[in-house]
């Protein structure tokens, strides 16, 4: 945000102001996920889950704003590139964090594999959501405002795959990307639970943080799950 303000002040224009709006939208799924941590009732959870799924595509959507990147006469190109990248990166992070929270919540109800498959399907749905947002210019709330139109469009896409190669390309590509990134973050969440390796010399082990070598099998996901079960 600071970077955007600096650019607006310097150029006296409101170029890229929609980035701020898009980033606000990217925070909504995270808020939905945070609300999910607190709730226990099944139908509230289901409602929040649908809300999360509808608004999740807004987070990675910021990546597609990079399409607007091009040398502009009124400001250094490198600054615009880093500006857009920062927004896209932050958006993706809020999205992935919200996904991790939803994933931990799912694991309280299903086993790990089922939860993972649900998340994978959600990521491909999000890939389609990004396509719908970028190329058909729909918003998350259009699902509630004009659902029939959207359903017709989707049926059209499913029935005539060869006419809509763009839709399938964007969906598969970004869906796979989101899922791969999600798996990476799922992996690094478990980093600290592994003990200090035996390859370290004895004095280094003594100097290192005392509680580190405890081989605990807890991670943040289970932490949240336990917290919300209480």
């Amino acid at each position: 945000m600071g970077m955007l303000l600096l650019r607006m002040y310097d150029t006296q224009t409101t170029t890229f102001i929609k980035l701020a709006w898009n980033l606000f939208l990217a925070w909504l799924p995270l808020m939905a996920a945070m609300a999910m941590v607190e709730t226990r009732r099944a139908w509230v959870l289901a409602g929040l889950m649908v809300f999360w799924l509808l608004f999740f595509p807004n987070s990675p959507y910021l990546i597609t704003d990079l399409i607007h990147l091009g040398p502009s006469p009124d400001y250094p190109h490198w600054y615009d590139a880093i500006l857009l990248y920062s927004f896209a990166f932050t958006g993706l992070m809020t999205g992935i964090l919200s996904t991790l929270i939803v994933y931990s919540k799912l694991r309280a109800f299903f086993d790990t594999n089922v939860s993972r498959i649900i998340i994978m399907l959600c990521m491909y749905a999000a890939g389609f959501g990004v396509y719908v947002g970028r190329f058909l210019r729909w918003n998350s709330w259009d699902v509630a405002v004009k659902p029939m139109h959207l359903v017709n469009t989707m049926i059209d896409h499913v029935l005539h795959p060869s006419e809509y190669q763009l839709a399938y390309g964007v969906t598969l590509l970004s869906g796979s990307l989101f899922f791969a990134i999600f798996l990476f973050f799922d992996a690094i969440m478990q980093l600290p639970q592994v003990p200090v390796p035996p390859t370290l010399p004895a004095e280094a082990v003594e100097e290192s943080v005392p509680a580190k070598p405890q081989p605990r099998s807890r991670d943040i996901n289970q932490d949240i799950a336990q917290h919300s079960m209480v």
Binding site: I82, F184, I188, M189, V194, A211
Partner: protein, 222 residues
């Protein structure tokens, strides 16, 4: 190399890297051209600091550690450097614009993650020898230095290994810029903006490992 702690993270970064290379292959096949061929090479360079940080983690002699730390610091800027490849994005007739955007973003994102993992490994090692505050300070300074490194790489077209081949030339450039700050707003702009971004990103990734219960206890004991 046997590295149990980071194995999971490394495997998944490997998958992401394979995904990048696949996207690049599709583009080369689809457009029958070598466009963006520099991306895989840059991603290869981005992996080098991980290699050095893994060696650093296993070494115990002070001299070796210092050498590996310097090597890591010299090659670390290659990881976030891919972000600046976004400058090459523009509307082309040979391939869909959205695909190119996704391609470069995926490479840039993977490069940054690879870099952050290596920074976390180095940070972990530093914490074994210094206090947490000092270790964090060292990493923050390294991130700012990388901001400058990216400037050197992008605009003056230096490579990491030029620190060995052309040290005096780079030193001259640097001294000149420190002596005349007004003449080089871009140098300071890139260094501060990129360095700041890297600092924030590192703190975010570090917070992922602190949330864990074991580390929270150890913080209480310090």
């Amino acid at each position: 190399m046997h590295t149990p702690i980071y194995r999971n993270a490394l495997i998944h970064l490997g998958i992401l890297t394979a995904f990048c290379v696949l996207m690049q292959a599709v583009r080369m096949y689809g457009s029958s051209s070598l466009g963006f061929i520099f991306l895989p090479y840059n991603l290869f360079l981005a992996w080098l600091p991980v290699l050095f940080s893994l060696y650093l983690r296993r070494s115990s002699k002070p001299v070796t550690m210092a050498m590996l730390f310097i090597l890591w610091l010299l090659f670390f800027p290659n990881a976030p450097y891919i972000i600046t490849d976004l400058l090459h994005l523009k509307q082309r007739t040979s391939f869909p614009h959205w695909y190119d955007t996704m391609l470069v973003y995926t490479f840039a994102f993977t490069g940054l993650l690879v870099g952050m993992l290596s920074a976390l490994i180095v940070y972990d090692k530093l914490k074994g020898h210094f206090s947490k505050t000092k270790a964090r300070l060292v990493i923050m300074l390294s991130m700012l230095a990388s901001g400058y490194g990216i400037f050197l790489g992008r605009f003056l077209r230096w490579n990491s290994w030029d620190a060995f081949f052309n040290p005096l030339h780079i030193l001259g450039d640097t001294v000149h810029r420190i002596a005349n700050p007004i003449q080089y707003p871009r140098t300071y702009g890139v260094t501060l903006v990129v360095g700041g971004l890297l600092c924030i990103t590192f703190l975010f990734f570090e917070s992922f490992t602190i949330v864990d219960g074991t580390n929270a206890e150890s913080r209480g004991q310090e």
